[in-house]
């Protein structure tokens, strides 16, 4: 039954009209992905009124095209400008940007394109495997598991800031402080609002992230001057004629375990509503960096540091459809808008969405797959051209990026206060760069803080105050507790082994 529909949907997409919508979606997604501040959510939100007049299936192709293409688009700016195009690409800057500075931007983009396409394919393949058990997967994640997952995420931050533990913790605490601003999700009381209405809904994610990543980086570039790629590598790259794209593709196949792990992490995190791509990409990056043999080279231009977050980032789209096929609920901000488009077409998403709207769901799956692959192929074709951005004088790059990203922030909700918020966060981000505090630590804490607080209160009420007993009685919770313990003690154990080895060697 499912396979037939899937094949039908794949064939239907070859119709001229449908293909045009898909292609339009891919181009739009790439563009919105590349421009910092604009992302998949913004693109889809702007598309809602447009899809009103389309047939439901064409609307799905358009939406799928956008969803599949944004994350790869975002990696391009992460690699070339150290400015993630969308928040989930933040982890890609760690190793992508050092590669670009070494004149190896082609290698990084090649790897990012390939791992995005393959990650997307693996994610959707996993989704198809999961469809029969999707209900069980969703039902086994309750408040207790949500809480423990956020703790696992916070633990991963703590161990990932090697050598800068205190700075990392300061940044994470600042992130939590920002997360707790506004109405408490649990009982609705407002906090830290200082009488400003704007803060009732908390600090909005998109303006904050645009400020922290894009604006701050532009301040840094503007003050430094020159161009992104340093002089020596520019001369070298000129001689080498920006090759490396092909090498980047092969690097992904050589590092297939990294790709596979990233895709699995992406799918699983994607399946859990509320966590999103930023957390998925970060967890994939940090687990790869923690367990790799050559972990000293991470952060200095290790290609695995590009493959890990980008594969997770694209796989999460497949995963975020697991709650959708099981219960008709969104697994991510993008799927939420996608379900909104269905409602606009008079389709009520619910637990039987896969039975009643098989065509639309499989249409979206096919569109997502085609888009992830299509965007990457486009990216590979234009990679050589894109790399030239790193050679452009920053006096041209900075005004363009700042204008585009602030426009994006404004467009999303039409609020000037959001622009101000992005600017303030940009200054904060610049100070953090200047004084060497990790920004991603702040962002992960910001994303997780609210969910952690709310789910903890829920567990407390649900378990009648017996939080620990309740958690220990749930198998998935126990697994997550174990994972957290391992995350914490892995670095310590490694150090211990190193001591022993050097001890016997002497």
């Amino acid at each position: 039954m499912g396979l037939d529909t899937l094949i039908d949907a794949s064939l239907a997409i070859l119709n001229g009209g449908s293909l045009a919508y898909l292609a339009a979606g891919v181009l739009l997604g790439l563009t919105f992905g590349v421009i910092p501040g604009l992302g998949g959510t913004t693109a889809l939100a702007l598309l809602i009124p447009v899809t009103y007049t389309l047939a439901p299936l064409d609307a799905m192709y358009l939406a799928g095209g956008v969803m599949g293409a944004t994350s790869f688009g975002g990696s391009i700016s992460a690699i070339l400008l150290n400015t993630p195009g969308t928040a989930p690409n933040a982890a890609t800057t760690f190793d992508g940007y050092p590669l670009a500075r070494q004149g190896k931007a082609g290698l990084a983009i090649g790897a990012s394109a390939t791992s995005s396409a393959l990650g997307g394919l693996i994610g959707l393949f996993t989704l198809l495997l999961f469809i029969p058990v999707a209900r069980e997967v969703v039902l086994s994640f309750g408040s207790s598991e949500f809480f423990l997952l956020t703790i696992l995420g916070l633990a991963a931050i703590a161990v990932s800031v090697k050598g800068k533990l205190l700075r990392g913790l300061v940044a994470a605490c600042l992130g939590l402080l920002i997360a707790f601003t506004g109405a408490n999700q649990f009982n609705g009381h407002t906090r830290f609002t200082g009488g400003i209405d704007y803060l009732w809904d908390g600090i909005p994610l998109v303006p904050a992230l645009t400020g922290l990543f894009a604006i701050s980086q532009m301040i840094e570039l503007a003050l430094k001057g020159g161009s992104v790629a340093d002089e020596a590598s520019r001369l070298e790259a000129a001689k080498m004629k920006i090759s490396g794209v092909g090498e980047g593709i092969f690097a992904v196949f050589r590092n297939w375990p990294v790709l596979l792990r990233g895709s699995v992490i992406g799918t699983l995190i994607g399946a859990i509503p509320g966590l999103g791509g930023t957390v998925a990409a970060f967890l994939s990056y940090s687990s790869t960096a923690q367990t790799a043999k050559d972990r000293e080279t991470f952060g200095k231009g290790n290609i695995k540091g590009v493959i890990a977050p980008e594969s997770a980032n694209n796989a999460k789209d497949g995963g975020s459809l697991i709650p959708t096929v099981a219960f008709g609920i969104p697994g991510s901000a993008e799927t939420a808008i996608f379900l909104g488009i269905l409602v606009l077409h008079g389709i009520e998403p619910g637990p039987q969405i896969l039975l009643q709207n098989e065509k639309e769901i499989y249409g979206l799956i096919v569109a997502l797959t085609a888009s992830a692959v299509g965007a990457s192929i486009l990216g590979l074709i234009f990679a050589r051209l894109l790399v030239l951005i790193t050679r452009i004088d920053v006096n041209i790059v900075v005004p363009v990026v700042v204008t585009l990203s602030l426009t994006g922030v404004y467009v999303l909700e039409g609020r000037m206060a959001d622009v101000l918020c992005a600017l303030l966060m940009g200054i904060l981000g610049y100070l953090m760069i200047r004084f060497d505090y990790p920004r991603l630590t702040l962002v992960i804490a910001f994303v997780l803080g609210e969910i952690a607080e709310r789910s903890f209160h829920q567990v407390r009420l649900i378990s009648d105050g017996q939080v620990v007993e309740y958690m220990l009685s749930r198998p998935v919770s126990v697994l997550l507790i174990l994972a957290t313990v391992v995350t914490f003690f892995l670095p310590a154990m490694r150090k211990l082994r190193w001591w022993r080895q050097t001890g016997t060697a002497e």
Binding site: A183, W200, F327, G328, G340, G350, I462
Partner: protein
């Protein structure tokens, strides 16, 4: 030269003045403010009504999302606009009523809004997991420990409804709030994390055996008349006053709108709500249309304010 200019200005003033006095709406767009982001329930209903309203009124209707501060930012924008009928908005009722009663400053007073119409109404039901031993409110309230219910925010209408109705019934409960949407709150019941939930019947339907997946069991509807065969109503259990809890999609405008303008928009909205496009969409999407005109809507708003004032203490979010 000066004379010509003055005559010109006078002529323009005469023309525009005359047009304003003539039939509303003239060649001007009507801005329809939605106080939430695109894709949600309020956004969808406005966008569904907009084309039919355009046809009925003969002018362009532009939906505009002004989200923030729990829906009050959009309400403020409408409040500040000129009362000429070219700016109207949709309101979250009784959410805003409850906020006002519990003393939250929303930047505008609901009593000053010019009420135009009510587009849709959602009635609440109480559901438990399909495989649960609980079959009635009595079972739920006598299970030994306080029953646990699931909700989104503590200031959400469903949560306020839950606290007030169980308070009136004299039944001790724990309302577990913080779920990200009403679907998540219903899934918490299916997974057994909580015992029950109060949600609009139209949202519960897709999980019921008769009309959906069969994961949930409806044990009470907050209505006076039977809406689902075989399921008792609040009137049956002796609390007909609980039928007052509904979720409304109310349309209003800035304070002091002229009566003829209100009537024109009211008629436009009525025609739109009877149009094929809107009715067939509502059928598919499970939206219960319940059109009310301006007078009726204003009366309902007064009524609600008094009602929630009475249960102000129960309505306030717990510490």
């Amino acid at each position: 030269m000066k004379n010509i200019l003055a005559t010109g200005i006078a002529a323009v003033a005469l023309v525009t003045g005359g047009a304003a006095m003539a039939e509303y709406p003239v060649d001007n767009n009507i801005t329809f403010v939605i106080p939430y982001s695109p894709g949600g329930g309020f956004d969808t209903i406005v966008r569904q009504f907009a084309p039919a309203l355009e046809e009925a009124m003969g002018t362009t209707v532009v939906p505009e999302n002004i989200s923030g501060a729990g829906g009050s930012r959009g309400g403020q924008a409408v409040h500040r606009a000129d009362a000429d009928g070219y700016t109207i908005g949709i309101y979250n009722i009784p959410g805003l009523t409850v906020n006002e009663v519990t003393g939250r400053d929303q930047g505008f007073a609901l009593s000053e809004v010019t009420w135009i119409a009510n587009l849709a109404v959602a009635r609440y039901g109480l559901a438990v997991a399909a495989n649960s031993d609980i079959n009635s409110v009595e079972d739920l309230c006598s299970k030994g420990s306080p029953a646990k219910l699931s909700d989104t925010g503590a200031t959400s209408t469903a949560s306020v409804t839950t606290r007030i109705s169980f308070g009136i019934m004299g039944c001790d409960i724990v309302d577990v709030t913080g779920y990200s949407g009403s679907n998540d709150a219903m899934i918490a019941v299916i997974s057994g994390e909580v015992d029950a939930t109060i949600k609009p019947v139209s949202s519960l339907k897709k999980y019921l055996r008769e009309s959906g997946s069969g994961d949930l069991k409806l044990i009470l509807t907050l209505t006076e008349d039977e809406v689902v065969p075989g399921v008792p109503t609040v009137a049956d259990i002796g609390h007909p006053e609980l039928a007052k809890f509904t979720l409304n999609r109310v349309i209003g405008g800035p304070p002091g709108m002229p009566a003829d303008v209100v009537a024109a928009i009211e008629n436009g909205l009525r025609a739109a709500s009877e149009s094929d496009a809107v009715t067939s969409w509502a059928d598919g999407a499970g939206v219960e249309l319940g059109f009310m005109g301006a007078t009726e809507t204003a009366a309902m708003m007064d009524d609600l304010a008094t009602f929630y004032q009475e249960y102000k203490d129960l309505a306030a979010a717990p510490e």
